[in-house]
């Protein structure tokens, strides 16, 4: 069982764990945490692909590793945006819920 295979299976387990957390936790910050877990699992899959691609004097394939670096930064940016929305939602409404029906009122002032 090479480190690559182990890491790949760990990545699969992390994706499953993260999905479990994403669906089940009602609190959006916990959902975000679980989403980050899924993301790191996916990056691990890229990582084992990179490690398996050792060739031509390099002990890894640099292309997937570069993609992971890009992906980590993009995932962080997404988390920051989600956090900003969650905090603003909480301060505007006093509760953290994603249920849009919680907001339905037959109000007349709608978007122009």
């Amino acid at each position: 069982m090479t480190p690559s295979t182990l890491a790949g299976l760990a990545g699969a387990a992390l994706v499953g764990l993260g999905l479990y957390g994403l669906v089940l936790h009602p609190h959006p910050l916990r959902k975000l945490l679980a989403f980050n877990l899924i993301g790191s699992g996916v990056f691990l899959v890229f990582g084992i692909v990179a490690r398996r691609g050792a060739a031509a004097g390099l002990s890894f394939d640099p292309v997937p590793q570069a993609m992971v670096i890009t992906g980590i930064v993009v995932a962080f940016a997404a988390s920051a945006l989600a956090v900003a929305l969650i905090l603003r939602l909480y301060s505007e409404s006093g509760r953290v819920t994603l249920d849009p029906d919680a907001w339905t009122r037959p109000g007349p002032e709608d978007a122009k």
Binding site: F35, A77, L98, P108, A111
Partner: protein, 500 residues
Amino acid sequence: MTAGIATTTPGGFLLVLAVLLPVAGIILSFATGGRHAGQITLGLTPFGSAVACAIAFRVGQSGKPVFYAIGGLPPPLGIALRADGISAVMLVATAAILTAAAFYAREKFAARDVRESRSALTFWILLQAIWAALTIIFVGSDLFNLYVALELLTFAAVPLVCIDGRPETLAAALRYLLFALFGSISYLLGVALFYGAYGTLDIPLLAQRVQPTPVVWTAAALITGGLLAKTALFPLHLWLPPAHANAPAAASAVLSGLVVKGSFFLTLRLWFYVLPALPTGQVAAALGGLGSAAVIVGGVLALRQARLKLLIAYSTVSQIGYLFLIFPLAAGAHAWSTIGWSAGLMQVLAHAFAKAAMFLSAGVLAEAVGHDQIAKLVGAARVLPLTFLTIALGGLSLMGLPPSGGFSAKWLMLQASVASGQWIWSLPILTGGLLAAGYMYRILTPALSDGEISMESAPRRYQETIAFVLVMIALALGFAPQAFFDFIEIGRPLAGEGPS
């Protein structure tokens, strides 16, 4: 192996230019501040439109896709851009609708005084970001590049939903973001598996190498699942109605007209450009089934809405279902596949223009009357004739009545379903048309009835005109000549071959 792949075809630089123009606009707008962001955006729209038309011209003239290897380094190590028939058509449509939305909203998001304002800076940057992201989606040829473009599109669309800051828009935006992020990560996982199996993410190269193995099916399922979440296909459509209905009118027009088409376009790229060599019959039927369900569920839910913008948003859910009928109807290399392909693309374009026009009109209406409760719109057609004419003509296209692009699309779909022996798809097409007639009737009956409606402010003529122009384009699509249908076949691989 990849003999004959040149690094660039004549006019290839236009592809990069098409992406870099809005990016330059974003950078300039951010640096100079919100006071100039609107002017920069409006100033760039003619150039962006010109580049889009130039690309379409090149593709049509040469009859082959326009290709550009960035940095002179061709795939698999480098990234390439590739514009074929459907890319060019979507680029032109994007330019048209974004220009229309920009001019429609220029007053609302204009810089009011010396100090920069939040909505002014935000709106124009987000609009340009949508333009840049959609351009890459339509001309990109590398799956990871397309992932970054999808993320850019999400980051641009989500803040547009909550740009006016009301709590319900924040909740809708957050829900949209979570669905979209789930979609992106699922897409990325599929990309990882594709790379692990074939060592490249370039679409033509992948198409040459792909085999029907379990890894490929898993990767395709993950990518498709992610894209379906972003396109809001039933049953993953829950985020769309609150998000599109509560955004400002120009934003809703862009979101319903263009943004959801971006992820749909990538689904087409996956199944018709990367995997045409695989036996995709069952998947096509499954996608068609989900599409049919969307048509009916969306239509029924639209009938029950009390608010005009929510009704239009559920109508989007329904019309997106039609798009997925392209999978069973254009599969393979049969005589009827071309008809199915033309039908799908025509539906994309007709819906984009008609829906954008309807959302813009709903915006004019809401601004003039102060609300968008359908039941209270008694007699509104008399005071806002041009707006209601636009809505009615848009409904014509949604229902699929001649003369309109929507009629063309549904007629071609019926033709394809009959010619291919897949009679079953005619059911959702016809039912959807009836449901659309139902909800259009619901909108127009109170508006055309006798009664007085009080106006809060006078409607803006230029806004009504912009919406009217868009809906006339949707109608004009119904008269598209055969050359148009030949154009969108350019660069499309037939089953068993890779892309040319």
